[in-house]
Symmetry: C3
Subunit: 404 residues, 3 copies
């Protein structure tokens, strides 16, 4: 399936081979990013941001400018008339007549799906509440791809708040899809939610190691293979086993006391001293902005790739815009066995579900009255259905036996 | 008179043939709007918005981008330094050195006229309080022109708040100028002001029917002509007589009680059921955003043209920018007898009027101290003069006999 | 030294010949400013404004558009995520991957130096609190250069608040460097700070006349030369001796009582009556916006060049962007004897200064924790060192004898 004209609401909208095709295109864009390309000359991007996110907005706008296209922008719709009483559906149906592609950011979960459903031009989700931010995931994956040349059998640690971190959930699935080993390191109470871990395992065959400290001592499985019987000598600090460490912010408001916050923060901060115990070619990544979890002294360490990671947002977004606009066809390779490919959503029978509202108060269906609740079957649990917009999971009112 | 270098503050700044010339140009622009044109390459538009109006701003900016020009933008000057103590006259005299054309939106009535007076580059009014918003009127008229191919003898209903609606006042005059029949349908207390109705009649020979319900039963005048004597059988619901129904928002703050508001709102809402009684090729128009006055179920009805109407804003604004910038000369046909043409304003003698302030508290002359009040004679009433900025009418202190 | 790739944080970053080279380039740009140039095609400017300054921002953006480049913009970062917990150093290291040049405005003094230090692309200071705004100084100087063709031996009055006015301090040094005579006219209590006057004298050989009224009667030194002995007859009003009068705003909050403010304001306002006593070819300049210090009646006087002055911001900024981007090499003439040229900063020994914080509460070093205080020697006072960021001067803890 060609990428032209498609939407990107979730990282699950792209197959593994489509993601790789975007990366190939990003490689090409990266070579031309300084001089610019003229392939989108005459096209217009609208950045429609219902809450400010300067970095993401600038990155998309710069990408479009580098492609030679034009930009119209709503930097913060929450304070403007767009927000006053006009629905997302109406707004995008007006903007589609001005622009060839829309990048939307909105605090409500599922809002980008609504925009994609109603707009006749491609819609890219630049963050819909706690739900998805797929271009962040793409640039995170692209960074590893560029720096390491592969995903398979890499050991990647996801560190910090793994409970609320949208970014890190999507990345975990992306890594699992491409065959990386994932270790989850988080403070007590901020572990990755169990249903997500379950889904990683069932759907993508990835069983992450879970722990609470990078300083845990482990037995390096690779070493064990080579030199059986000398197990004790090869015990090593967990930190030393990773090819990449992806750090996320631990936010104060997630903790009950300031003391608990301070303890967690210090335990997960990466300093030069901590990094000295990591592999010589490990990557230290971060979605930025950082607060205290990455010391400034790291910035000159060649393993600190977080600014390069942010910079990769430009070629990735150039590639994505070019592909969805049909200005540069992404060459998608034939799917291989075991590849993830998006499947048509199997919607739960409307008549049996009509009474059910999405229980997620931040779901767009609870804020835009013209939307009717919709639910789809999920692959990883027979007794569960998910909101078609925000993907919040609820116990199926049908019972698991009714599922086809 | 060529359009190059002209301002557009009021729909009355354009003759009937000039409006048609802009429509011809808009037809041409519409063909090229996806690929863009390069005719304004190197030119710069400044959108100077003292209050946010995202839709209008994006539409102008997209139009300029499609023409190949550049854009500089003040999305909400009220919160920035532009507003702090700097007059409109000073601001536009600075911006004219950066940009080739200025689009201004300002809450004060008459403000766009001040901008046009002081700026040496063309100024387009994108809304000056309750006064004028001429490009909205142009796109409203263009929609009918495109969908119906003509204005003469069309029956157009203007529905909703006709008292405070700036949009609908200008449209009524536009329709009258081109020979359409106008019906005014509004809640009690929100009728079109009598002086405007009077002016429609005296100046443009249009006597609108006025009523309070689309469900009124009337005798179809066309039928009467054809089949005289069978009057009773041909009585029909008013709604069924219209070629176009232009709906506007009824705002809560216009009513004394919530009850009165709810009654009015329901009485003027267009639902699929209501629309089923309209002509098969009637147009349902709306300046958007809508609230409850247009049901979402209408959106798929081919008669619901409001999104197409919004989309026509793009070619109309492209045409206007191209014409005023002199990048595409609008071909204005020779005036015909009875055409409306702007005439030089006949200013009331300064010495006799100097004491008189404009009584409109929202008039720009009461807020910008360097402006001296100015009044002009009006055509439709001998004993009345109008503020030269906001067009608020006042009893002439000269007496009607002194008028030349 | 070529200008390509350089930063412009302070007017002292440019040598006299470099300023002249920018003026030569500005002359060229001014000829092409209406049709635009395509020399920066494919390049991107980011305007990063932590506080709104619409005029400055639009001027830079228009300049980049006229050069054919693209613009990404943060109009008011204070209300967006850029400001939330992210340091200037981190922000510019992200933006440098999107844009080829950054224009920053920030309320903290020294902030632009931080941005320049961390960004790998050129950074232009568009105002860092009360510290510097070098492109304003460049356009002020360029205005005199264009209108008078020279600086040497011109008499320029700086009028108004000379104590807090950042603009007027930089201009005084610029004028001094190019050999103009400077007169300082200010209300009591708003005189130019003594250390600045001292520096003008010691470093640039300029001893400004200081007084409190434009109406002071003085003996014209030129006349004295020509007609010795007739001194009394040639006494003239100070106002009549100037080639240019640069007026700045006197702000209410600088005065203890409203009465003192009103007196000062009236004493320094330029009206047509005041101007009638000035030379026939004197220039009246102002950085704008004005409040009451320049009467509207002056606007038509050919000596009132303040709008032309604002307009010169465009070619000056076009020239600067083109030069720093390396798109149009500025031809810098060989330095002449006595020219000002920036010298490498001689930093005070870190070990001896480490305890010293910059005492300026608005200094960026007191707000961004990753910065260590740094001090440099100054030329004009042996017992003084200056903060390397905000240039606030402090008594040297080393004692003057330790200075090399």
């Amino acid at each position: 399936m060609a990428l032209e004209g498609r939407d990107l609401v979730s990282i699950f909208d792209l197959s593994d081979r489509e993601i790789e095709a975007i990366f190939d295109l990003a490689d090409e864009m990266d070579e031309h990013k300084d001089v610019g390309l003229k392939i989108a000359d005459g096209s217009i991007l609208c950045t429609l941001f219902y809450e400010p996110s300067t970095r993401t907005r600038l990155s998309f706008e710069a990408a479009m400018e580098r492609l030679g296209g034009g930009v119209i922008s709503v930097a913060d719709a929450s304070s403007t008339s767009v927000a006053k009483g006009e629905t997302i559906a109406d707004t995008v149906r007006i903007i589609e007549s001005y622009a060839d592609i829309i990048v939307i950011r909105h605090p409500l979960e599922g809002s980008a799906r609504v925009a994609a459903d109603y707009a006749s031009v491609p819609v890219i989700n630049a963050g819909d509440g706690a739900h998805e931010h797929p271009t962040q995931t793409l640039l995170d994956l692209y960074t590893i791809w560029r720096e390491k040349g592969k995903f398979r059998d890499l050991s990647v640690a996801l560190v910090g708040d793994l409970r609320y971190g949208r970014t890190v959930h999507s990345l975990a699935f992306g890594l699992a899809r491409f065959g990386a080993n994932v270790t989850l390191v988080s403070p007590l109470g901020l572990e990755m939610p169990a249903p997500l871990v379950e889904r990683l395992r069932k759907e993508f065959g990835c069983t992450p190691t879970q722990c609470h400290s990078l300083a845990d001592v482990v037995t390096d499985p690779k070493s064990l293979k080579r030199r059986k019987g000398r197990q004790k000598a090869l015990a090593t600090e967990l930190l030393a086993t990773f090819d990449a460490v992806y750090v996320t912010r631990v936010q104060k408001e997630r903790f009950e006391s300031d003391e608990a916050y301070q303890t967690a923060k210090q335990g997960y901060a990466i300093t030069q001293e901590v990094l000295s115990r990591a592999q010589a070619d490990a990557l230290v990544m971060h979605p930025l902005p950082r607060v205290d979890e990455l010391a400034y002294e790291l910035d000159r360490d060649p393993r600190a790739v977080y600014f390069r990671q942010a910079a990769f947002g430009l070629p990735v977004r150039m590639a994505l815009l070019a592909a969805l606009l049909g200005k540069r066809p992404a060459k998608v390779k034939r799917a291989r066995k075991g590849d993830y490919r998006p499947e048509p959503r199997r919607e739960v029978d409307f008549r049996k579900m009509a009474q059910l509202k999405c229980p997620n108060p931040r779901c767009v269906t609870n804020h835009e009255s013209y939307l009717r609740p919709q639910f789809t079957f999920v692959k990883h649990a027979a007794d569960t259905v998910a909101c078609a917009y925000c993907e919040h999971e609820v116990r199926s009112p049908l019972g698991s036996d009714e599922r086809r």
